[in-house]
Symmetry: C2
Subunit: 322 residues, 2 copies
């Protein structure tokens, strides 16, 4: 498999410029805020989302004056949502480091997230593109609905696959759509291409989340940067868990754990059962089918190095271990 | 004293239209979200902030196509920040009703607040005015800094008046500035008037918060919609508390309470001491001085019914009991 850095080679240099914009967010006078920001922004994440904005932007008129701030906005929106997610879930570890809420308290994490949403909005506004700005606000609304849906359904066993795909479309794929659609809009793509890149972002985003949900069961703590089985621990029923419930409707360890959240042995058994079952393969097939659709979307676009990168990303998304 | 409704008479009809826009935010398919929204939006608040946007907008070219969505954006931003504040402070009562976090949990409150920020952003974006949109994002950032500052200084006795005024400028006055400055921008006011209305919003906002901080000591639970002394309970050192500390540096009940948060008798004594001291009058004088500056700002503007309403609001701000 190609490395992520190799795949996104056409925009690596410009991605570094977007990262510099992000770093500049940390340059504030207030000491407390400055400390929080440098911790929150000092994450060497995958930067897939801003790379998507730049890559889709490079299919047509590559205007960095607006693509760079939009790429920064997309990444900051992602960071802000992670900060809030961790505070809400009372998570203690992310990417191998203590979370903001663990170190500074939930109150600071919520307020820092608000600040990051605002700075993301400022970057987005600085593109001067009203369509992109509206899409940005709508995306935050959609993501919040997805997260609310997850919160309201914590430890609820009565959820269907449709609920699952609706939720991950909102909480995850919508941000991928923002990344690709805004890149298309800001590079003056023809409307047909905007719609195609929107679809591509949606399919890639769904595949990404399905793989994330698989990795939460099969990954090592080192790869995940947090303990395996975190979703179950939060009461979040993801696709692998749903399939285990379907195949073993009686005496299922997930049922046991959801009914008695202190029964950590049941949780451990649930993780083991999924890890050693064909469910993992079945979920990977589903993720791969979304990636196949994403590639079909791209077939309709002009061929160049950026399109190839977007193609290769569909493989990376499925093969990645973290 | 004139009633608030009487004061803002020139825009009462249009304010009702802005409220209808707000109500439309609650019309969503998701049942859980719909329930949360109807609860959060069903608050008969004072609506001072959206009234300010409409009143300042009415000084020049009164363009409701953009002023109404901006008024809605300003009020939603306010609502969102209250929802987050309550979640952060773990407050149980606001305006005489249980808070969202009390009824649905802090996680839902944080996510609902995010959703409301997003919807506020959508309303703001629909004005199509880039300058207003930038100001909106900057305001959310500034408010978050003010709130972070408050959170980091909870139960900290070593704070100066400068800290206090800096904090309330950020957490409260900035939103008043957004309300008045956006009204000015969207009604094509001359730049000099935009600057004046910005100043007016700042002075009015500072006065508003000083009075809020007085009322937290002298108001009844019925007037406040929450117990008196809530600020002290959260460890927030407001102007009246700072003055009590200055006048009684030794054996001060605030010091005792901050050092032992279980000492509720000390808290009660602190509230009583302020309530029965000239500190209340001193704080009112300070609020009145900001209102006087706000009136001086207005003297520089053309005289009409809206200007009179903005004048009268400076009296209302100080005289109000809740």
């Amino acid at each position: 498999m190609l490395s992520l850095s190799k795949i996104i080679d056409p925009v690596n240099g410009d991605l570094a410029k977007a990262e510099n914009s992000l770093k500049s967010v940390g340059e504030v006078q207030d000491n407390h805020l400055s400390e929080l920001l440098s911790y929150a922004l000092d994450i060497v994440g995958k930067r897939i989302r801003p790379a998507l904005t730049l890559l889709t932007g490079k299919l047509y008129a590559y205007d960095l004056d607006c693509l760079l701030p939009m790429a920064a906005a997309v990444e900051l929106l992602h960071t802000a949502s992670l900060v809030h997610d961790d505070a809400i879930d009372k998570s203690t570890v992310r990417r191998g480091r203590p979370t903001i809420n663990k170190l500074w308290g939930e109150d600071k994490a919520v307020l820092l997230g608000d600040y990051l949403f605002a700075k993301a909005g400022e970057f987005c506004a600085s593109t001067g593109n009203l369509r992109g700005i509206k899409l940005f606000s709508q995306t935050l609304a959609t993501m919040s609905i997805g997260e609310l849906n997850q919160a309201f359904n914590a430890f609820n066993l009565e959820q269907t696959r449709e609920h699952y795909f609706d939720r991950i479309s909102k909480k995850t794929a919508s941000l991928f759509v923002l990344a690709t659609e805004s890149g298309a809009i800001l590079s003056q793509s023809p409307e047909r291409s905007v719609a195609i890149l929107r679809e591509y972002g949606y399919n890639l985003g769904v595949a990404f989340q399905v793989v994330d949900d698989i990795l939460d069961f099969i990954g090592t703590e080192e790869e995940l940067g947090k303990p395996a089985g975190s979703d179950l621990a939060q009461g979040t029923l993801t696709l692998p868990a749903m399939l285990l419930l379907r195949y073993y409707p009686e005496d299922n360890p997930i049922k046991r754990f959801f009914q008695d959240r202190g029964d950590l042995e049941a949780k451990r058994r649930a993780v083991e059962s999924i890890r050693n079952s064909p469910i993992v393969e079945e979920c990977y097939d589903i993720a791969a089918s979304y990636c196949a659709r994403a590639r079909q979307n791209l077939n309709l676009l002009p061929d160049n190095a950026s399109r190839q990168a977007l193609m290769d990303l569909t493989d990376y998304i499925v093969m990645r271990k973290k």
